[in-house]
């Protein structure tokens, strides 16, 4: 049986390729914060306290554009509401942990960490120390996000905008979903959710980010009914 430390290291190793996009995205975020006129401390604080890439950008953009705090906070909440779905999926695997451990691990639940650790959990069912995988993937993502934000705050302006590094974000998520591209039902719900997100993109408060997964899950439900 694998030890806690071994599983922790596998978590780091599994999520490591995604750092290729998380790192530049953090730099871009740090640079955007400064560009919008926020102080280095304020910009960095969002990485520590909110710790949710896209939502931090929207948060600062709204505040700098003169939106009320309420609107900025609501948008952050809506964008990050996808974590409810991640939590629901992960709850099964974190079931037996103490409340303190659950509260600790929760802080580190982010997109890429959820994706790779969920895959690990499915492949290695019911092993006692599996949750160390999520701690490993989460902590390294957290660490790189903090470091890259700070680099972006101080050196972000030297990264040429023409590089279009923001494109690394859709790419890191494409790299996650390719595992399911051989399953027709998954491809079907992917296209549905993707199109719904695209057409609802301009809906208020970025609600597209939660509307489209819910529509996708509804489609999945129907598919499962039809299969029987």
């Amino acid at each position: 049986m694998r030890s806690k430390y071994e599983i922790f290291k596998i978590g780091i190793k599994d999520v490591a390729p995604h750092l290729l996009s998380v790192f530049p995205f953090g730099i871009i975020f740090g640079a955007i914060g400064i560009e919008l006129g926020f102080s280095p401390l304020f910009t960095y604080a969002t990485s520590l306290i909110i710790f949710g890439g896209a939502s931090q950008i929207v948060f600062l953009q709204l505040l700098s554009g003169g939106a009320s705090s309420l609107i900025a906070i609501t948008s952050v909440g809506v964008i990050n509401s996808r974590h409810f779905l991640y939590g629901a999926v992960l709850s099964e695997y974190l079931q037996k942990l103490s409340l303190i451990k659950k509260l600790f691990i929760s802080y580190f639940i982010v997109d890429q960490g959820f994706a790779v650790s969920n895959q690990y959990f499915k492949k290695n069912p019911a092993k006692e120390f599996n949750y160390y995988h999520l701690i490993g993937s989460g902590i390294i993502l957290w660490f790189i996000w903090q470091i890259s934000t700070i680099i972006g705050i101080y050196l972000g302006s030297i990264v040429p905008e023409e590089l279009g590094l923001k494109f690394a974000i859709p790419l890191t998520f494409i790299a996650i979903i390719v595992n399911e591209l051989r399953k027709f039902d998954h491809v079907f719900v992917m296209i549905i959710s993707g199109l719904v997100a695209t057409f609802f993109y301009n809906a208020p408060f970025k609600t597209y980010i939660i509307i489209s997964p819910l529509v996708g899950l509804f489609a999945a439900m129907i598919i499962n009914k039809l299969k029987k």
């Binding site: 290729l20 779905l85 929760s106 997109d111 998520f173 996650i176 390719v178 719900v189 993707g194 529509v215």
Partner: protein
């Protein structure tokens, strides 16, 4: 005021992360629900990918010859055949740059 809003946004975000993990008990999840939850990655990530590729910074559709479209298709094809995260990201980004800087 704005500092307060960072903390509120942070608490709210933390709540989205911890609520389900702490509140859901095993017996609440039926086999049917578990099957549906299986699709979560397949419904959340495309919701970020599609607008990220098909729309520009202002929320308008890009043209079919946009470098992002070329980069995304390359990444999908390479990813489909290799299932390698690094190759998927690198192939997508480099084909995107080739369209931007060479053509």
């Amino acid at each position: 005021m704005t500092w307060t809003s960072i903390f509120i946004a942070g608490i709210l975000t933390y709540f989205t992360r911890m609520s389900m993990v702490t509140l859901i008990k095993k017996e609440m999840i039926s086999d049917n629900l578990r099957k549906i939850l299986n699709y979560v990655p397949s419904v959340v990530f495309p919701s970020i990918i599609f607008p990220g590729v098909l729309l520009d910074d202002f929320g308008a559709f890009v043209t079919i010859s946009d470098p992002k479209i070329f980069g995304a298709i390359t990444a999908l094809v390479i990813g489909y055949f290799t299932r390698n995260v690094i190759l998927t990201i690198v192939s997508g980004l480099s084909s995107y740059w080739i369209v931007i800087f060479v053509f």
